[in-house]
Amino acid sequence: MKAAIVVFPGINRDRDMAIALEKCSGRTPRMVWHKETDLEGVDLVVIPGGFSYGDYLRCGAMAAQSPVMGAIRAHAARGGHILGVCNGFQILTEAGLLPGALLRNANLRFLSMDCHLRVERADTDFTSRYQTGAVFRSPMAHGDGNYFADDATLERLEGENHVAFRYVTLTGEPTASANRNGSARNIAGIYSANLRILGLMPHPEDLVDPLMGGTDGKPLFDGISAALSDTLAA
């Protein structure tokens, strides 16, 4: 799998993401500066977390106008895979590549802690190493992760099975208290219609090493690397 990590000014989980991708795919991802416009030959484009443009004005708003976005749109149009995590998810929604928006956390505080995610479907290129309904742990760290979409969009996401992950309890219940940022229907991540674009708020890339407290996030990266590799590295 050839992965590229897009670096916008202010992005800060680019290194975390590179480490996770390298660990799981065996290949060093290419770091792409936001002013580059060429993503030829890339299988997976990753927009990592951080504070692009300081999260000023609106999270992801300015990054969504960056020169590289043209190439990312073209990649999407070719049916290429895209993973947006945290600020990356916000940027994908701002760019209109995923529906909805991420509002300020309901309690108006930055939330940095572990959460539990339920895998809503395991038949995508991203989640094939999990089971449907499986619950895994992931760190999260954001001030604006409160997923919002109008009712019609939510119905469509649910109806077409495009919800990727939900915030749940340890035992898999999507309760209000498990949904700390206040997201609509406990949504933590969603897919595009072709299931090739995934956006999520939490940071599975920070939990791929037992030393950091676990490997719950590893199957995500193992799965996508396996799906996109000609020579199966696993």
Binding site: Q65, G100, R104, A106, L108, N146
Partner: protein
């Protein structure tokens, strides 16, 4: 030279936790007669443009492209 003021507010129907928190805090301070509170952003800038109509059209263009996210926000442009 014109001055543009773009006001961006969450659409009705989009929950506004900041507005809600401010409302609660105002009640807590004894301002019991305050109703629903909404909070938005205002962006002010100078525009090197002589024609107010053109200035307004430009500022609206900026609002649509960057200053507001029309999925969740509406906006209003004033030229002074």
């Amino acid at each position: 030279m014109m001055k543009a003021v773009v006001t961006v507010m969450l659409k009705t129907g989009v929950l506004d936790p900041q507005g809600k928190a401010i409302g609660q805090a105002l009640h807590g301070l004894g301002f019991g007669n305050v109703g629903e509170v909404r909070m938005g952003k205002v962006i002010e800038f100078e525009l090197a443009e002589a024609d107010p109509a053109k200035a307004k059209a430009q500022a609206e263009d900026m609002a649509r492209k960057l200053l507001a996210n029309t999925v969740i926000e509406g906006f209003k442009v004033e030229i002074i």
